[in-house]
């Protein structure tokens, strides 16, 4: 490859590259704006609960093998013992 050719390829790469990055990120700016408007208008979330509620449900979903089960089991055992004592 001749040296000039390499340099021209470099120039080309720069032009295409810069344009591609700018175009891509511009589209992303548009998409974000659009999505934010759609979400805030049609699917709003109560500002307060947003930080807490999902975390709680997720925790529940995950701790299914631990916390919830243990809690219910404890309740069940307690119940049984109560009954035996009273019975």
């Amino acid at each position: 490859m001749r040296e000039d050719e390499l340099f021209m390829q470099g120039v080309e790469l720069m032009l295409f590259g810069v344009s591609a990055v700018v175009i891509f990120l511009s589209l992303l700016v548009l998409a974000i704006g659009l999505a934010s408007q759609v979400i805030l208008r049609f699917f709003p979330q109560p500002a307060e609960s947003q930080a807490v509620a999902p975390r709680r449900t997720s925790a529940a979903a995950e701790s299914s093998l631990d916390a919830e089960r243990i809690a219910v089991i404890t309740a069940a055992v307690h119940q049984h013992r109560q009954r035996r004592r009273n019975g």
Partner: protein
């Protein structure tokens, strides 16, 4: 007596070459910078240590079984390898190593089998490199972890800052031009693929640089990774003079309006939107940005905390250890001590400087034409180097106006810079890759 000779021959002293001494000193120097000066220690400690290991004479930790066979200088082995590589039996190890590098896949496999049959094996670091980097997996896994640690809130609150992340990538492409320029002038010998890989240093994003280098210029991976992480650590030194030179005191004092709160739903939708944009426009960036978006989705969706924690902790830490050692394997003297390495170090700092300047200048332009005030100091954060560059912006803002906290505003361009350089990487790979 023969055992005594064998023992002496098995010491490092009998085989030390000057290049190896130099490289071990460079490795120790990287460790010093990482430990004492806290230059990106999470990567530079393993890289520096790997560099020392790679240059232990006679251990061959960074070489494949076939390369170790050729380094052994055992005449019978050399003759057999020469036969397999189709070279004259009189060829020396040097020539055979070159022939091996150029050989087709089946020939390389045959050479590897012959070497293993003769009792040679892949060096430890070579194994790590093959598994972690040559497969492309380690940088992608780290990118997933980074995604799981990134908060896009500031970016979503002020999406215009994405333009700053785009502007700072100009450093990448200017550096590509610089690299081919050096080749055109005959000073260096970089191919277009080499130039593209070197340019990515300007992206100021370690895993992206390593990923691109492993695809486009594996031979230059060592210096590229070292340059990328070193300059990222040097951001607090490189950026401020440029930022001061290009802004006025009045501009630096600009107070930006507080960012709105971003809802969880917007944060969940963002990685999916970015992924779809990648799918539509730039499939070559799909591995990098796909894993990044996956990590971020795991973090934001809130229902897979176990997985998100694993991606942010055990997985990224384990991968970082092996990625660092693997990069170290590319610091062997015969590959690193080259005039090209100097060129890469030089071009790298230029890339950072140009990226910083472009970010600041575009920020000034946006401030002039936009409706909301925009402090140009946050433009420099667009190079990424998360979160160092954003902190530099914050520091210079406080210098100019002691109550002007820019950190949160600078996080927008900062994470935009990560996306920007991954996009640039995708463009490089699709235009230059085979």
């Amino acid at each position: 007596m023969s055992n005594l000779l064998r023992l002496w021959d098995s010491t490092g002293l009998a085989h030390f070459q000057p290049g190896q001494v130099v490289m071990i000193l460079i490795g120790l120097c990287l460790l010093f910078l990482a430990i004492r000066k806290q230059f990106e220690p999470l990567l530079l400690v393993p890289i520096g240590f790997g560099g020392v290991l790679a240059n232990i004479p006679g251990a061959g930790l960074a070489y494949s079984a076939a390369e170790n066979a050729l380094h052994s200088a055992d005449p019978a082995v050399l003759a057999e390898m020469a036969r397999l590589l189709g070279q004259s039996v009189a060829s020396d190890a040097e020539a055979l190593l070159q022939a091996l590098g150029l050989a087709a896949a089946p020939v390389q496999q045959a050479a590897a089998s012959a070497a293993e049959a003769a009792g040679f094996s892949d060096g430890m670091l070579h194994t790590f490199y093959t598994v972690a980097i040559a497969s492309g997996v380690a940088p992608l896994v780290i990118f997933m972890g980074v995604g799981a640690m990134t908060d896009f809130g500031p970016l979503l609150a002020n999406p215009r800052t994405l333009f700053l992340g785009a502007a700072a990538q100009f450093g990448i492409f200017a550096t590509v031009l610089g690299a081919v320029g050096l080749s055109t002038l005959g000073l260096m010998d970089f191919s277009l693929a080499d130039a593209a890989a070197i340019g990515i240093i300007g992206g100021a994003d370690g895993p992206t640089a390593i990923y691109v280098a492993s695809l486009l210029a594996p031979d230059l991976l060592g210096p590229i990774a070292v340059a990328a992480y070193s300059y990222m650590a040097l951001v607090p030194l490189i950026q401020p003079p440029i930022m001061r030179a290009l802004t006025t005191q009045a501009e630096r004092e600009i107070v930006m309006t507080q960012l709105r709160e971003v809802s969880q739903r917007e944060k969940i939708v963002f990685p999916l939107m970015l992924l779809i944009l990648v799918a539509l426009l730039l499939p070559a960036a799909a591995p990098l940005l796909g894993m990044f978006c996956f990590g971020n989705l795991m973090k934001e969706c809130g229902v897979v905390k176990r997985l998100s924690d694993a991606a942010q902790n055990a997985l990224i830490n384990i991968t970082t250890i092996f990625l660092g050692l693997s990069v170290g394997s590319k610091l062997v003297a015969d590959k690193f001590l080259d005039i090209e390495t100097l060129g890469i170090m030089l071009l790298g700092v230029v890339a950072f400087a140009i990226g910083t300047a472009s970010g600041v200048l575009i920020a000034k332009l946006m401030n002039r034409f936009g409706s909301h005030p925009l402090n140009p100091l946050i433009g420099s954060a667009g190079v990424s180097a998360v979160p160092m560059a954003a902190r530099v912006s914050n520091r210079l803002g406080l210098e100019a106006n002691p109550s002007n906290y820019l950190l949160m505003h600078a996080m927008g361009p900062n994470v935009a810079g990560v996306i920007g350089s991954a996009v640039a990487a995708g463009v490089m790979i699709s235009l230059v890759g085979v």
